[in-house]
């Protein structure tokens, strides 16, 4: 059972953060590292320079921060119950995120590599379907910014159930 420290973003096995300042990949890695783990798996989402052959000029993220962090904690706990993971980090940037910059960092440590790799895959797929964060892009030649929509949101409609305590 994990207990939460005074820093509400972190327990001793799960660390989530939605913020303008992201921890570095190394910091996330160091949180997850454990002598029992032979694998530290990660996924880093990075702003791409184009969308459907249109050049991306500007990209930024907005979040419903307390709920986004809550959902991320739930996702991490789920990943840990589905796969043999020791520790998990899930962090997402808000604000400006220029081309080449990391928007999301997910790290899992596990004794064996399969669980970690699957854990990261699970986290990014579920994040796209459930975590209340929005991306706004401005393309070259367009005057207005566009709010993006993840296809996983619509597809994940049936998964948005209320947990009755």
């Amino acid at each position: 059972m994990s207990s939460f420290s005074a820093d509400t973003h972190k327990s001793n096995t799960i660390w989530v953060k939605v913020s303008e300042e992201l921890p570095s990949l190394q910091e996330c890695h160091d949180f997850c590292a454990d002598p029992s783990c032979g694998a530290i798996s990660s996924f880093v989402g990075v702003t791409r320079d184009s969308f459907q052959s249109k050049k991306v000029l500007k990209l930024w993220y907005e979040a419903y921060t307390p709920m986004a962090e809550k959902e991320l904690r739930k996702l991490c706990a789920e990943a840990m119950s589905k796969y043999d993971l020791k520790r998990v980090v899930a962090v997402h940037k808000v604000g400006n995120c220029p081309v080449g910059q990391a928007s999301v960092v997910l790290v899992c440590s596990s004794p064996h590599r399969n669980d970690g790799l699957k854990g990261c895959s699970y986290l990014i797929n579920e994040l796209k379907a459930r975590v209340p964060i929005w991306k706004r892009e401005v393309y070259e030649g367009d005057s207005d910014a566009v709010w993006k929509e993840n296809i996983e949101w619509k597809e994940g409609k049936s998964k948005r159930v209320m947990v009755k305590e």
Binding site: Y64, K70, K128, P132, I133, R136, W147, W153
Partner: protein, 87 residues
């Protein structure tokens, strides 16, 4: 019954760039009532907020499943969640 409503992304823009507002509802209101109240108060938001496929509600940081309408009590926070795009 006073509830706090939070607007995000395209919903915020449609409401005239308002990010949060306190709304007084009649006793025994529910989330469907609130959709109607918001549609009236913010006409440019009406088309979005009246369609559950456009805007999902979150009540006190928990998603309201589609098709469900929940009662609202004093102090509740409702967030207007347009289709998300994180990751």
């Amino acid at each position: 019954t006073t509830v706090k409503v939070l607007f995000f992304a395209s919903a915020r823009e449609a409401a005239g760039n308002i990010s949060s507002v306190e709304i007084e509802l009649s006793y025994e209101s529910n989330t469907t009532t609130l959709r109607n109240v918001l549609a009236e108060k913010y006409p440019k938001l009406a088309e979005l907020v009246l369609d559950e496929d456009n805007i999902t509600f979150a009540l006190n940081e928990e998603y309201i499943p589609s098709g469900e309408s929940l009662p609202l009590k004093n102090g509740d926070t409702i967030a207007l969640i347009p289709p998300i795009s994180g990751g």
